[in-house]
């Protein structure tokens, strides 16, 4: 453990800025994935273990669209909307059939989806590594903030994720539809009694959750390698985030994602070998002390 290095980093603005931006880069992308996972759990009460696969599909959609059009905007939309659509179909035809069944059924269905998506990607796109490449618009030298450097693309990524996160929060907390969705999470029969089509609503929420995974995939595509199976590691990390933040809480997901981001960014300086252990310890500690997570509500039953 090298706390001296950590202290000296925090005292120079260059290092502090760079590492804080690192934390945000890691954290915000994680937040995009985890918020979808959390939203789906919060409203539908199922854990979408296939969420990592959706992230992967989002990245591949963006890659394919970018290859065809050379436009990052198109790539972004293709990743987001394509996966949103897949999410709706997945919910309608598969996931909805195991609501209320034990969690093992849901786990298995998702496991099947992971296997199928991984294999389809391998068959269609091939097993070799793919890299989308940096869009022209972002091919700039890194921006300087107080002596620290942040690549232009990452600035965009952080701001975009933040904007989407805020938008999501506003939509849930401040709109009529958001109120209905929150009511749906607590008391579905009541919402149904109000004459609202809950089936559509469930599909919609699942679609939005998946859309977030697709967005994360599209945002990651320019800087991360695309391979079949790339969804696995992000699934585990976003799962940790969701558990720490509280299943169902968007703000909790943000806090936990940033917590993980900061742990990794500053852990790399101060205690590089202990980062994984710390992430695990945080998750275990939260589960022991407050099983529903930092901001999760106790399960209603």
């Amino acid at each position: 453990m090298n706390l001296e290095a950590l202290a000296s980093c925090l005292s120079t603005s260059a290092c502090a800025v760079t590492q804080v931006s690192t934390a945000l880069i890691i954290g915000m992308l994680l937040f995009m994935v985890a918020s979808g996972l959390s939203l789906i759990f919060g409203v539908l009460g199922v854990i979408n273990f296939a969420h990592g696969a959706f992230y992967m599909v989002g990245a591949y959609f963006a890659y394919a669209a970018y290859q065809a059009t050379e436009s990052f905007a198109v790539a972004f939309l293709a990743g987001a909307l394509g996966v949103g659509l897949i999410g709706i179909l997945f919910e309608r035809f598969i996931m909805s059939r195991v609501y209320g069944k034990d969690v093992l059924m849901q786990l298995l269905v998702c496991y099947a989806a992971i296997l199928i998506f991984d294999d389809l990607v391998k068959i269609i796109a091939g097993p070799e590594y793919k890299m989308m490449g940096m869009p022209e618009a972002f091919a700039l030298p890194p921006l300087e903030f107080g002596g620290g450097f942040v690549p232009a693309y990452y600035v965009f990524m952080i701001l975009a994720s933040l904007a989407i996160g805020i938008g999501l929060w506003l939509a849930i907390e401040k709109t009529r539809l958001g109120k209905i969705v929150r009511a749906l999470a607590i008391n579905p029969p009541m919402v149904s009694a109000l004459g609202i089509n809950t089936t559509m609503l469930y599909a919609g929420v699942f679609g939005v959750g998946s859309l977030l995974a697709g967005i994360a995939g599209a945002l990651a595509a320019p800087t991360r390698t695309l391979t079949p199976g790339m969804g696995l590691s992000i699934l585990i990390e976003s799962f940790i985030v969701t558990v720490i933040g509280g299943m169902g809480s968007i703000v909790g997901a943000l806090i936990a994602a940033l917590l993980i981001g900061f742990t990794r960014a500053f852990g790399a300086i101060g205690f590089p070998l202990f980062v994984d252990g710390l992430m695990f310890a945080m998750m275990a500690l939260v589960l022991i002390l407050k099983p529903s997570g930092l901001l999760g509500r106790e399960p209603a039953r």
């Binding site: 980093c9 290092c15 760079t18 590492q19 931006s21 690192t22 880069i25 890691i26 992308l29 991984d118 294999d119 391998k122 091939g126 097993p127 070799e128 590594y129 793919k130 890299m131 989308m132 490449g133 940096m134 030298p141 890194p142 450097f149 690549p151 693309y153 990452y154 990651a220 320019p222 800087t223 991360r224 390698t225 695309l226 391979t227 079949p228 199976g229 790339m230 696995l232 590691s233 992000i234 990794r264 960014a265 852990g267 790399a268 300086i269 590089p272 070998l273 994984d276």
Partner: protein, 419 residues
């Protein structure tokens, strides 16, 4: 009971009890009367490293197609049977057993990565067929006498050879350019740690002024290296060595590009030289130093280019390091079979392979030798070169003399108590 045993002993059968029939119900004709010689390959064909298997297979196929077109071994064709181990060592052990016991494979080309190769190694110890490990670079597999299996060989580059070659190349550049402050960024698993430690050890042997100021160990298959990259920017080393490979390396380089890391830091990579990696990187910086993995212009001879072309016909990309290693391994098998006149007995084939000097366009000076003492190949290309932004991607290969490598390897073995 003994009666029943001897009665059924060698016959093949059809049907029977459900489980029995289900598992063993694929009749095959074992032994010398078979028309084809089946060669089994356990390898990874799914998940993140599927390319390990998918780029190994065509290497073998190029060699087998050639011999089959020429009439086979005494009229018997060679057939490759592959199985996906999904990257699980116990699964690798299982499919290897199945390939031998069930599918009638008489020779194994083990296309597993290092942990799987140890599992296959134990199966071979049990079953005694000829096996060539084609993808495992872990030195221990053959260098440690405790591991030795009579019929198992390695036809792949070996960590210690690479380390010596890489160390001497790095030392030379360090001396020229005054690179003293070094840093390493390698994946946190056995191969990454061993490879890095050995590289640094020999770089220091050849150039004692080299000082390692920090070492980072990102997780294997980590999708994001930003924290390692920004840490590097804080440490400001003059040179970085990395044992990252495959998709991880592609991501690392692209992400480093965003920070313009390579503008004032020299980069030495053990894994960048594979054509599929070089082409996957959209913005390949010039002047990165990389170990040779494969290049159709090195060794520069028509045989190599022919291999490259045949390979590209089978899959859509140029060969990987695994591609040529499997090509050479398949040729070892073919040559051994020729010498035994098609006899596939493990011990007989092993005695042919042991010490064999194989003529191949991939060898330095046209041959690669399977050393009889420790069952591993020498005289394969262990060069280092520099990247350029267009094909052939890596140029200016600098070879390291094998005599020098072998001398230092011998010392290393003594230190380890293996020689």
């Amino acid at each position: 009971m003994s009666e029943i045993k001897s009665g059924i002993g060698r016959r093949t059968f059809i049907g029977g009890a459900v489980a029995g029939a289900a598992v063993t119900g694929f009749p095959h004709i074992a032994g010398a009367q078979a028309k084809v010689i089946k060669v089994g390959m356990p390898t990874i064909l799914s998940g993140r490293v599927a390319i390990l298997g998918t780029s190994s297979i065509p290497g073998v196929q190029v060699a087998f197609n050639a011999i089959n077109a020429a009439g086979g071994i005494d009229g018997r064709k060679l057939e490759l049977v592959t199985r996906d181990s999904k990257g699980r060592p116990d699964e690798a052990a299982k499919v290897t057993r199945d390939l031998i016991n069930n599918d009638g494979c008489e020779i194994i080309l083990d296309g597993e990565a290092s942990s799987g190769s140890f599992a296959v190694h134990e199966v071979i110890r049990d079953l005694g067929v000829l096996c060539l490990h084609t993808n495992s670079e872990s030195s221990t597999l053959t260098a440690d006498p405790k591991q030795k299996v009579k019929t198992a060989f390695r036809c792949a580059r070996q960590g210690i050879h690479d380390a010596v070659a890489g160390g001497s190349y790095a030392a030379k550049i360090a001396k020229e350019k005054g690179l003293k402050k070094w840093m390493t960024i390698s994946p946190d698993y056995a191969y990454g740690r061993d490879n890095t430690a050995e590289f640094i050890q020999y770089a220091k042997v050849f150039e004692p002024s080299i000082e390692v100021v920090d070492q980072l160990w990102p997780k294997l298959f980590a999708p994001d290296y930003t924290e390692s990259i920004t840490k590097t920017m804080q440490v400001k080393p003059q040179a970085v060595y990395s044992a990252l490979w495959g998709g991880d390396l592609v991501a690392f380089i692209e992400q480093s590009n965003l920070y313009r890391v390579f503008q004032n830091t020299a980069f030495f990579s053990g894994g960048l030289g594979d054509p599929p990696i070089l082409t996957a990187i959209k913005n390949l910086p010039q002047g990165l130093n990389t170990a040779y993995r494969y290049n159709k212009k090195f060794p520069d001879n028509p045989g190599n280019e022919q291999f490259n072309d045949e390979y590209v016909k089978l899959v859509k990309h140029e060969p990987t390091n695994w591609g040529w290693q499997n090509f050479v391994a398949a040729n070892f098998v073919i040559e051994a079979l020729k010498r035994t006149a098609g006899k596939t007995d493990g011990a007989a084939l092993a005695s042919e392979v042991s010490g064999m000097q194989l003529k191949t366009p991939l060898g330095v000076g046209g041959t690669i030798t399977m050393r009889d003492t420790d069952h591993t190949i020498i005289n394969y290309p262990v060069a280092w070169g520099k990247t350029v932004s267009k094909a052939p991607w890596v140029v200016d290969y600098v070879d390291t003399e094998w005599s020098k490598i072998l001398e230092i390897e011998q010392q290393w073995k003594k230190e380890k108590g293996w020689a």
